[in-house]
């Protein structure tokens, strides 16, 4: 790791930017992945700041990881970027790479959304470390995010293993200073050590059957991954990234990630083992700390994985019995540690009854038009992972089923066959979800003779994560007009019988198209086109306003779910429904919901 003498520049960076810098310094040649909060910007920074590195947003995380694995076998350091929910999609690919021969270092940067910034169900990437027996590193600030990135590649090559760099939403979105060598020259090396790299199934078959053989055709398939990991565990006791800070003999804490800093702030006297490599564990260091202190705690964001792994070493630690995990706590804060471990800490409680904020679609979003039509005609539908899933929340109630990304088409198909096609349960999916895995659902639906209807919302980007390119976008890292995929053409090629494309803002057309598709006797796709209002900064029309003399406060316009429509208390205490003039885009969707012609522009 770098010492203080080697840097020439200091810059404030958030964790995502620091990881990108680390990728550059590690000499990464290929970066592939799929957007996902909080780690999307790792790719954005890599692409914008270090054009030497080949970058691509792949169709989904599994494809992205496979691209990186292929590039790694070619001998070059390769990087896969995704969030933990995305690694679920790519898990099969990771299982294939785990324990196999690694030529160019292979690192997965995976974002754990601790604290539910983007609202996904709480996941912990370290489970994959345990399951596949691969190392996991976790930085505590931006400096370490950069430094550990370089280290991750060294470990990957030295111990022939894929390595996960776990970053959390706190790391990704916290800006702190990074010292680095400004004059660093980018170097790519080709490291071709192994002529083959196979999944464990092939390797273990050969290794166990041909144990002791020296025949080169057999030995080239050997890769003793369990020995590699044992060696790594042993050596990790001497790694700089694992740091034992022996102080007070009363309280000891084993910690990693940003919680390390919470501990240092709240318990400055405590003895601390700060882990940079969270899997495998440095057993000697842990036992040394355990012997030094009276009480040993483990403070870790996410699930109780360090805790379990430490207990497996025969060391007794206090973890979730003092800091219950779910549903009480989503992630650690300094406050939680102070409350439990500092005697007589003052307790501060928030003001009660401050209204919470449910997520709302941007004013003018095409999804609002679709939600409105589904609700108006009481059409039952499944949503996907898309900005449109906001229509699932209780202030909108447009959808009754929603699961993972790309799922809605197969969910609707399953529902419809179970109900013997007596009702048409509709699937709504975004363009990102469609290309990611939804397209498989559509192929499945066709060749299994389903009559379902699919609404594909084409907003020309992956809007929810900030507008990254998808296969049908007219921009992107490697974009060429002749390579752009067209949703309608693909649907036609797959064999969809009835395909219609409609502009989201043409409300009557859209309504008619959806109703026709739903009542059709065949399978059908409605492609709803409108570029994302936020990403493409669509020009605004004259904002609408509500004529208070005509408004009867039926609140039907509020049910549209637009951010611009508010219920306000007037000075005399009465309630007025108003349209926020700074937010309204003048899309006029709300006027279709008003029977009293009170909404004007």
């Amino acid at each position: 790791m770098k010492t203080g003498n080697e840097f020439t520049a200091v810059k404030m960076m958030n964790g995502n930017e620091a990881v990108a810098r680390g990728a550059f310094e590690a000499g990464v040649k290929v970066a592939a992945g799929f957007p996902g909060t909080p780690s999307t910007e790792v790719m954005d920074y890599t692409q914008h700041k270090y054009p030497e590195i080949y970058c691509e947003w792949s169709t989904n995380e599994k494809v992205g990881l496979e691209v990186a694995i292929g590039a790694s076998f070619a001998g070059y350091r390769s990087l896969a970027i995704m969030k933990t929910v995305g690694l679920h999609v790519a898990a099969d690919a990771l299982g294939g790479a785990a324990g196999s021969q690694i030529n160019g270092g292979l690192v997965l940067v995976v974002g754990d959304d601790v604290g539910r910034i983007a609202g996904d169900d709480y996941n912990d990437v370290r489970h994959y470390g345990n399951m596949f027996n691969i190392p996991v590193l976790e930085p505590s600030d931006s400096q370490e995010a950069k430094d550990l990135m370089v280290k991750a590649f060294e470990i990957s090559e030295e111990y022939s293993t894929p390595v996960i760099l776990k970053i959390t939403s706190v790391i990704c979105k916290t800006t702190s200073k990074v010292e680095y060598d400004e004059d660093y020259t980018y170097q790519v090396k080709c490291r071709e050590i192994y002529p083959v790299s196979f999944s464990k199934v092939i390797m273990t078959t050969i290794m166990t059957k041909a144990k002791g053989s020296e025949h080169p055709k057999l030995t080239k398939c050997f890769n003793d991954f369990t020995a590699n990991m044992k060696r790594l565990a042993q050596n990790s006791n001497d790694f700089d990234m694992n740091r034992l800070e022996l102080n007070d003999k009363k309280i000891g804490v084993i910690t990693a990630g940003t919680p390390y800093y919470y501990v240092k702030e709240v318990l400055p006297e405590a003895s601390v083992l700060k882990l940079g490599l969270v899997m495998p564990l440095p057993e000697k260091m842990i036992k040394e700390l355990a012997e030094h202190v009276d009480e040993l705690y483990v403070i870790e964001d996410g699930h109780d994985l360090l805790e379990k792994n430490i207990k497996d070493l025969g060391v007794s630690v206090i973890g979730k019995e003092l800091f219950p995990k779910f549903p009480d706590m989503m992630r650690f804060t300094p406050d939680v540690i102070e409350e439990k471990l500092v005697p007589n800490a003052p307790k501060r409680t928030p003001i009660e009854g401050v209204p919470f904020r449910l997520p709302v679609s941007c004013a003018g979003c095409s999804h609002l038009f679709i939600s409105q039509i589904l609700r108006k005609h009481k059409i039952k539908a499944a949503a996907d992972v898309t900005c449109g899933l906001i229509g699932c929340f209780p202030h909108m109630e447009s959808y009754s089923l929603q699961k993972c990304m790309g799922s809605s088409i197969a969910l609707a198909h399953g529902y419809n066959i179970a109900k013997d096609h007596k009702e048409n349960f509709v699937a709504m999916i975004g363009d990102g979800g469609f290309w990611a895995t939804g397209i498989n659902g559509l192929m499945n639906l066709i060749f299994n003779d389903s009559k379902s209807t699919v609404i594909i919302v084409d907003n020309s980007c992956l809007a929810m994560t900030g507008g990254q390119n998808v296969a049908s976008s007219e921009f992107g890292f490697n974009y060429k007009p002749e390579n752009k995929l067209d949703i309608a053409t693909v649907c036609e090629a797959i064999g969809v019988k009835d395909i219609v494309t409609v502009d989201a803002y043409e409300f009557d057309d859209l309504e008619k198209s959806i109703l026709n598709a739903v009542s059709a006797e065949t399978n059908s796709v409605v492609i709803v086109k409108k570029p994302c209002v936020t990403k493409f900064k669509l020009p605004k029309e004259t904002p609408s306003y509500i004529d208070q003399d005509k408004c009867v406060k039926c609140r039907k316009c509020i049910d549209v779910g637009c951010l611009a429509i508010e219920s306000k208390k007037a000075e005399d205490g009465s309630v007025e429904i108003v349209i926020n003039q700074d937010i309204c885009t003048g899309c006029r969707l709300c006027s279709t919901a008003c029977k009293f012609e009170a909404i004007k522009s």
């Binding site: 604290g115 916290t174 003001i351």
Partner: protein, 203 residues
């Protein structure tokens, strides 16, 4: 007395330019040679969700990216519901700067939840901390849209309160925002200093 550092929570809703505010302020404190950690907590939903930035500067290395409740020196908020969410974290001598702008919560719009029975502005004023309230309606100007530029107005306000060099702050604004927005931002910044100046003189 030498300023050894402060803990600031910057709050508001998506689209109000909280990140720009913390970015401009961070450049100022960097120039003064402080250590910094800035943690942005962005809520769910691209627009209209609650956003908070934990902004810490210190003459010593900053440890936790989050400010512990009870350790907050300043709450600077561009939306008053969000102000209320953070009042409990203030130190006894902590100070509140809050816009009276309000974006009604979805849960209230759709009657999933009752709004607070009393005026939020009055609740803020009544807090035991020193409070500075900025009403965008009162300070409306034909020169710029105060609702859209409350972040920079508040930056001017805060800088005036702290007695910072406006020249340096304006220079940072110039270097940081796209050229076509520079003039508008400087007008907003100066407006903030004027409002603060009048308010401070009256106290």
């Amino acid at each position: 007395m030498q300023d050894t550092g402060k803990n600031i929570i910057i709050a508001g809703v998506g689209g109000q330019g909280i990140l720009l505010f913390s970015n401009l302020l961070s450049k100022f404190y960097m120039k003064l040679g402080y250590e910094l950690k800035i943690s942005d907590v962005i809520g769910l939903g691209q627009r209209g969700g609650g956003v908070e930035s934990h902004f810490r500067y210190s003459d010593k290395p900053v440890l936790s990216p989050f400010i512990k409740a009870g350790d907050v020196d300043y709450v600077i908020s561009f939306e008053q519901t969000e102000t209320l969410r953070h009042l409990h974290g203030l130190k006894e001598d902590g100070v509140v700067f809050s816009s009276t702008y309000e974006l009604t919560s979805t849960s209230v719009n759709t009657r999933l939840q009752k709004d607070l029975p009393e005026s939020k502005t009055e609740m803020i004023k009544r807090s035991e901390n020193e409070t500075f309230i900025v009403d965008p309606e009162v300070h409306k100007s034909p020169d710029f849209n105060i609702n859209k530029m409350m972040n920079v107005v508040m930056l001017g306000y805060y800088a005036e309160f702290r007695g910072y060099s406006h020249e340096e702050m304006i220079q940072i604004v110039r270097e940081s925002v796209p050229e076509k927005f520079v003039e508008g931002n400087i007008i907003a910044y100066k407006k903030g200093t004027e409002i603060a100046n009048a308010e401070l003189a009256s106290r």
